[in-house]
């Protein structure tokens, strides 16, 4: 190893121009792959193909057609929907909604197919037609119908008549981001038209397509907002720690090259950017800066001691080659184990960062020194006062080793107990903060109408035409009524409501007949008559399957969170098992699969985390050539993540998907400080024959300041990630920043106290 390090230094100095131009060319070539980068906007990207809940949902969609929706929520400023001008606006919006690309069905109060008896005939027609010409009495009638109809109430019209909605079902021919964009653009355009034409309305835009669109928007927003912030921060940090404009520029160049190499290679590999993986550049920038700092700080140190620049560069490479390589490899391993995640965006994130970190190593060791060899680098840096500070810190730990050790141990144990307070919550709507229009719209919708959280039930009768069997109808109706009696349920869509209504209509609108038909053929013929009367796009094909053997019931709940959704689904399943075992099935829907996502990913990442832990510990043992120290390093490496979980549990409590990758991700990062500290400690003991106290003091003096600076850079970098409007990223950012800070705390207090206790 020693020979390689010397040889690398010689080579870099000798062929400096070749290295500068060659690596620059390689970097540009890799970075040119960025032109292939696409942004994925699909809420389902977080699920792998073999996710069982996704498979169940897709099976349901095969029967009833996969639909997504765009939801317009209309709130007249007057607080009353039942006014001619608002109803006219609703009618207009309903008509225009048919023109939205890939729309297959438009539902609103105005085109609700209201049924009534007229003499001996069944009249099926739009609830609202020519709204502008309606009399007060007619509007009153419409209001009475709307507020009494279980299909409409709380779904298309608010209880107090203040808010209504237009729902547009979208069937995208292919699942591409281009189509989502097309639909959302048209929807936004239509919203604008409505606002201009009907200024007395407040209009909100929500729905599945808008969520997908937000998933696509999030990475762009994050990159646009966070990367400049990151640069500003790094610039400040570098200027302060390096005290050289030239060195700062060189470092910035290295980290930009690293980030664009990572992203460019992702482009070449055809990886699409998602809200999670789009943060790879911010993470790469944060991680890459440490390598350069180590190289430059040593070089300046040598130069101040009178060494000429080329020799200082050679010496810096000799000293730093191994630690920089080791820390890069461990970091890369940590990120690469994200491939165990069930959520593809995390795999992408892990791979992009790993590529970026390894290229940062190459640029820091081969490109930066070569650049330093041709540029007039100087520094005003003076580490003296700082190292003095760290010697005092060392003295403190040495003097108070026992109290320090025990108080740290208590801190570790206490904070870790908070883990029990962690609750997994993945409400995909709350992934986005209120700076997203769609989140505001969804909250508004959840408040006044139904939320976006739904549980779908495919209820099988077991035979062709069986949905008309009175027994089946009764069971489905009882199931629907049971749901309606649950406090958290806002709306239940069941086709039995249509049946009851038809029965009433067929008996001259006598309310006494608002009940299920009692003969199978009668029910079937009512249904046939009704279906014959329905216009284009309003048929029942999304509710009833092809051979009329099954129907779909949809239960809507305002955003109640993962635990609530899972609990309701479990109770629903239990009801079926108890009351209708032949129909027994699982509830399905996007809310359900998101509700399982954290638990599933934590499980899948457990294996990854164990492998990362094993590999990284192995590397530690090899590097330190010491089984005891290597094993010991497990403690300060692993504890910070658990402490971070615990502190999070105490102060925040709820956490989502981000939690699953935390251990694997932070392990590779926090290990760096441990490596630096332990190698120096070991060098003190072995090379300089120091006792453990002197060795601890030596370690603090030599690397304390570097550990301090890099940790600040890292913690600050991940704190910036926490400003993301996308919850998974902001959680990941805050938790990682917390973990890294705790790791430094342990490395400064717990590790030396531990060493002093064991190495007496």
């Amino acid at each position: 190893m020693k020979r390689i390090e010397n040889w690398v230094g010689q080579l870099v100095i000798k062929y400096r121009w070749l290295f500068i131009l060659g690596l620059l060319a390689i970097a540009l070539m890799s970075a040119s792959g960025m032109r292939f980068l696409t942004f994925s906007n699909n809420s389902r990207m977080y699920f792998s193909k073999d996710n069982p809940q996704l498979q169940a949902l897709e099976a349901l969609e095969q029967t009833y057609t996969r639909v997504e929706n765009v939801l317009f929520i209309i709130a007249p400023k007057s607080g009353n929907v039942f006014e001619p001008q608002t109803l006219a606006a609703l009618e207009f919006l309903t008509e225009e909604s048919w023109k939205i690309p890939f729309s297959s069905r438009v539902n609103s109060l105005s085109n609700y197919q209201h049924t009534r008896a007229l003499a001996d005939d069944l009249i099926v027609e739009d609830l609202i037609r020519n709204a502008n010409a309606l009399t007060n009495k007619e509007i009153g009638d419409i209001k009475a119908v709307a507020l009494a109809e279980p299909m409409l109430l709380n779904s298309m019209i608010a209880k107090d008549g203040s808010v209504t909605a237009v729902n547009i079902n979208i069937i995208k021919p292919e699942d591409s981001s281009y189509e989502t964009k097309k639909v959302s653009t048209a929807a936004v355009q239509l919203k604008k038209t409505m606002e201009d034409t009907y200024p007395f309305l407040d209009i909100y835009l929500s729905g599945g397509v808008m969520i997908d669109s937000a998933f696509g928007e999030a990475p762009v927003r994050d990159m646009r907002a966070l990367i400049p912030l990151m640069f500003t921060l790094l610039l400040g940090l570098l200027v302060v720690s390096l005290r050289s404009v030239m060195a700062t520029s060189c470092t910035l160049l290295v980290i930009i090259l690293s980030a664009s190499t990572g992203l460019g290679l992702a482009g070449w590999l055809g990886i699409a950017l998602t809200p999670a993986s789009a943060n790879a550049p911010v993470i790469i920038l944060t991680l890459a800066v440490a390598d350069s700092i180590h190289i430059l700080v040593t070089m300046f140190h040598q130069m101040r001691q009178g060494t000429n620049r080329h020799n200082a560069i050679r010496e810096s490479i000799r000293i730093n080659f191994q630690p920089v390589l080791v820390t890069s490899v461990t970091t890369a391993i940590g990120f690469l184990t994200m491939n165990f995640s069930d959520a593809p965006p995390f795999r992408d994130l892990g791979n992009i960062v790993a590529m970026g970190v390894l290229s940062a190593f190459i640029y820091s060791v081969f490109f930066l020194p070569a650049l330093a060899a041709v540029l007039p680098l100087t520094t005003k840096q003076d580490n003296h006062s700082q190292s003095h500070l760290f010697v005092r810190l060392a003295d403190f730990v040495i003097t108070w080793r026992s109290p320090v050790f025990w108080s740290m141990l208590i801190l570790i144990i206490l904070s870790t107990t908070g883990i029990s307070k962690i609750r997994l919550n993945d409400e995909f709507i709350k992934y986005f903060d209120r700076s997203y229009d769609f989140r505001v719209a969804s909250d508004f919708s959840a408040e006044h109408l139904t939320g976006l959280e739904i549980i779908d039930w495919a209820l099988e009768s077991g035979e062709e035409g069986g949905i008309n069997e009175p027994e089946y109808l009764k069971t489905v109706d009882a199931f629907a009524q049971w749901f309606r009696s649950q406090p958290e349920v806002r709306h239940v869509y069941t086709f039995t409501d249509i049946m009851k209504r038809l029965n009433q209509n067929m008996h001259g609108d006598d309310p006494a007949w608002y009940r299920l038909p009692e003969e199978r053929d009668l029910a079937a013929q009512y249904l046939l008559l009704y279906e014959m009367n329905l216009p284009f796009g309003l048929d029942l094909n999304n509710r009833i399957n092809l051979d009329k053997s099954a129907t779909r019931m949809t239960v809507s709940i305002p955003n109640i969170g993962t635990a609530g959704v899972l609990d309701l689904e479990r109770r629903g399943r239990k009801w079926l098992e108890d009351n209708a075992p032949s129909m027994s099935t699982y509830g399905s829907g996007l809310s359900i699969i998101f509700s399982y996502i954290s638990a599933r990913n934590i499980r899948s990442m457990l294996k990854g985390s164990v492998i990362a832990l094993f590999l990284i510990s192995l590397i530690m043992i090899i590097v330190l050539k010491d089984l005891k120290l290597g094993t010991l390093s497990l403690l300060p490496n692993l504890c910070p993540a658990f402490m971070a979980f615990g502190i999070w549990g105490f102060f925040v409590g709820q956490v989502g998907l981000a939690v699953s990758v935390l251990i694997a991700m932070t392990l590779g990062i926090v290990v760096d400080d441990t490596v630096h500290f332990l190698t120096k400690y070991q060098r003190g003991r072995k090379e300089h024959g120091m006792n453990s106290e002197e060795a601890v003091r030596y370690a603090f003096k030599t690397v304390g300041s570097a550990m301090w600076i890099t940790t600040i850079a890292l913690a600050a970098g991940f704190t910036i990630l926490s400003f993301s409007g996308f919850q998974i990223n902001s959680h990941m950012g805050s938790m990682t920043a917390l973990t890294i800070s705790l790791a430094l705390l342990l490395d400064f207090f717990f590790l030396p106290a531990l060493l002093l206790k064991l190495d007496q």
Partner: protein
């Protein structure tokens, strides 16, 4: 229908004089529609059995069988009676239609379980017919007056010289379509293929007809009609059998009394 006779005369003359003077694409489109209509005139009545096979995107099937009786009406649209044999829950249900050249068609449905005839709101003619991919307006009598036309081009389709033209529903508010494109073979004026465009102008469905047979040496009828919905991936196939012409049906076979005893 005096005006339509005049138009008809005008167009037939135009066709015969074989481009003696130049006609617009709209005139030519109309002339083709009239010619097709003319070639089917005088069949008086026919009966046929139809099997309807519904398929979803993943190939799952469901079948219905229906008997059809149709009566030609001299100056108005045809009258037709459909009797449903399966699914068994709707056996004996009969659907009576009086189509009209101008205005909404009249429709009634007889429900045997209720023993009553119910009128159907024919404004909603754009809806699915028995859950199939055929809308009522697709299978209803195709009266010339219900559309306006525009001839596009001539091209080969399935080895036959075809006239390709667009037609637009006159009743735009209640139709599910903004436009249809039709491939009519030049020799026999049979519709071989039709594309349906929805309200947002995108291709919604394609109809393909096959196994055409000629009856009484004049009237062509398809043995198979296949409709694919491009947006949902669902499809419906109609298989026609036992065509019989001149069976002696009269107006009396197409009223509410006949509905009730249709089974």
């Amino acid at each position: 229908m005096k005006t339509s006779l005049i138009i008809l005369f005008f167009c037939v003359t135009a066709l015969m004089s074989s481009h003696a003077f130049s006609e617009t694409a709209e005139e030519k489109g109309l002339a083709i529609a009239i010619e097709a209509d003319l070639r089917d005139k005088g069949f008086f009545d026919y009966t046929a059995d139809m099997e309807m096979i519904l398929k979803n995107k993943h190939g799952k099937e469901s079948k219905r069988s229906i008997r059809i009786k149709t009566l030609e009406v001299a100056d108005d649209g045809d009258k037709s009676l459909s009797i449903f044999d399966t699914p068994r829950d709707v056996k004996g249900t009969a659907f009576l239609t009086f189509s009209h050249k101008i205005g909404d068609d009249d429709q009634w449905l007889y429900l045997p379980a209720l023993k009553r005839v119910k009128r159907i709101n024919s404004r909603n003619k754009s809806g699915s017919f028995m859950g199939s991919e055929f809308a009522y307006e697709d299978i209803a009598s195709q009266e010339v007056e219900k559309y306006t036309y525009k001839h596009l081009r001539e091209e080969q389709y399935q080895g036959q010289d075809c006239l390709v033209g667009e037609s637009y529903p006159v009743d735009q508010k209640n139709s599910g379509y903004t436009k249809r494109i039709t491939w009519t073979d030049k020799k026999e004026y049979r519709v071989l293929k039709m594309e349906y465009y929805d309200r947002k102008q995108s291709l919604l469905k394609t109809l393909i007809t096959e196994d055409h047979q000629q009856y009484l040496n004049k009237y062509w009828r398809p043995g198979m009609m296949h409709m694919v919905n491009h947006q949902t991936g669902k499809s419906t196939t109609l298989l026609w059998k036992n065509y019989q012409f001149h069976t002696g049906l009269t107006d009396k076979d197409f009223n509410s009394t006949s509905l009730k005893r249709a089974r």
